[in-house]
């Protein structure tokens, strides 16, 4: 039976044909691979974080794959060719998805080590006219280099948003991506929104965690520590989204963390997310995960008598 469920949603004025969003850092490296993910049915794409200057990132191993057991660690270390080449990739991506008539929106992720550089990076990437910009204030894999996460302090998190908001054209919404590793994420989110953020992406990977190979008696990751993702992250993400939505019911949230199935996505929507980030599952279930999750959401909505996502978003708060 053809589903009647309407999966469209909107985040800060950006219309998505479905709520699945490729999370930053997964497959978001090049124009062609982002276009490929768009063709797999993602509602939006987030590019891998870019910084003003190129970054080599960490040597391998950069992942510990235990997805079969419900978790994964990664410490890629924000490798990227720098904002200028990333801007070209995004421009190329937009051309490709226009040619394929998908026009899947793109959220450009940027990373910086100071608030001022966040502003400069966001301004630079806005030249590609992305549909939104995401400020990665929460990567846990570069702490040795930069000290504690930006988003651990309301003041620092807000300052980065303020710098970016002042330099990015008003028609490009800004999302702040936050970490679950804080006592009160809603306070950080509120500070970001007051500073001009149009939405929140919650959450980045947690931890970081660590894995040691006992045969070699050595830490596996070159960086030793890596952000925790996969199903184990989901309860932390649900809690974070729930608390942000309770504090800021009008602010759109891209709920990200451990979403593998349509039921996971619905849980995230009920917690208060308007869209749902998918990262580790793009490996765990393959790039076809976006279409699969959408089908599963539709089937669940049909069997439960829902016709559009508005009836589901934030429902756990009612």
């Amino acid at each position: 039976m053809l589903s009647l469920a309407d999966l469209s949603t909107s985040i800060a004025g950006v219309q998505l044909r479905n709520p699945t969003v490729l999370a930053s850092g997964i497959l978001g490296t090049t124009a062609h691979i982002m276009a490929r993910v768009a063709s797999e049915g993602a509602g939006a794409i987030t590019s891998k974080s870019a910084s003003l200057a190129e970054r080599k990132g960490h040597p391998n191993p950069i992942v510990v794959d235990q997805v079969a057991k419900g978790w994964m660690l990664n410490a890629v270390g924000l490798s990227n060719p720098g904002i200028e080449e990333k801007t070209e990739e995004i421009i190329e991506y937009k051309k490709l998805v226009k040619e394929s008539n998908l026009n899947t929106p793109i959220i450009a992720s940027v990373f910086a080590s100071t608030a001022k550089e966040f502003g400069e990076a966001a301004e630079a990437i806005s030249r590609a006219k992305p549909n939104a910009i995401e400020l990665d204030e929460s990567c846990p894999n570069v702490e040795d280099e930069f000290g504690s996460l930006f988003c651990l302090s309301e003041k620092n998190a807000a300052k980065a948003v303020e710098e970016a908001r002042a330099r990015v054209p008003n028609n490009i919404p800004i999302f702040a991506k936050l970490s679950p590793d804080v006592p009160a994420i809603e306070k950080i989110a509120s500070a970001c929104v007051e500073a001009g953020a149009n939405g929140i992406t919650a959450v980045n990977t947690a931890g970081p965690g660590m894995a040691i190979d006992i045969e070699r008696a050595k830490p596996i990751l070159a960086n030793k520590y890596g952000g925790l993702s996969g199903p184990a992250l989901k309860p932390l993400a649900i809690r974070s989204v729930y608390r942000i939505h309770a504090a800021l019911p009008e602010v759109p949230i891209i709920g990200t963390g451990g979403v593998f199935t349509g039921e996971d996505a619905i849980e995230m929507l009920m917690a208060g997310a308007s869209a749902v980030g998918i990262g580790t599952a793009a490996y765990g279930r393959g790039p076809g995960v976006f279409a699969k999750v959408c089908t599963e959401i539709s089937e669940w909505m049909d069997s439960h008598g829902y016709s559009n996502l508005k009836e589901i978003i934030g429902k756990a708060h009612q």
């Binding site: 850092g25 497959l27 490296t29 691979i33 040597p59 391998n60 191993p61 950069i62 070699r216 393959g286």
Partner: protein, 261 residues
Amino acid sequence: MAYYSTAKIKELREENYRVRSLVLDCQVNAKPGQFVMVWLPRFDEKPMCVVNEDPLTISVAKVGPFTEKLFELKQGERLSFRGPYGNSFTLPEGAKKILLVGGGYGVAALNFLAKEAKSKGIETTMIVAARSKQDVILEKEFFDKGAKVFVSTDDGSAGFKGRAHQLAEKLFEEGNKFDCVYAVGPEKMMEAVARLCVEKKFPCQVSLERYMGCGVGLCGKCDAGGKIVCGDGPIVSGEQAFQLSEFGKTHRDTMGHKHNW
């Protein structure tokens, strides 16, 4: 489930002055064309194709810091790996005759396929292509597997003088027909072979090589212009290869900068 498999190196085999095979005291459940991620703790990790699955064998060309470290390993020492990963070569249903084209150390990657072809009674022709006589590897191994072996060198110091695809073209012109052609080696060589096969309407499969990060289709570093080499590949058909925006043209480093082949 252990994170990595660790096994002793039971034999080191010099294939030529710069290629060495490491035979491990273990086996893996792999198919021809798949790779393992070889891990040197606290140093680096790289994909290496499965040259033989039982016992697990990898062939290493000394080309950089990682492979230099692998060359320091002695018999009896341990090596760790995860995998196998990636898709595999496929033998068309009812295939009777196949052509393998290996260039440089890419020759080693076809060893496992030749073994499988032999077990299925498929007649195998092998082109071992190299820059020069001293670069030729595994000629005898393929001969021992019952393959008809032809050597080509760029400088003519052994066998046919010329490029691998020129020798393949000669075989085609002599009236040889193949149910599938398999090429592994430098990308320009694979491109030339694939182009020839598309022209002659022979099915063809090539093995892509890119800088690889995670090995499982997640980080996106090994995109070849629309396909992730570790997750979608490394094996693609000639037709698929030509649809990739970077095939035969460019590859990327760990940061994502493009470089010409």
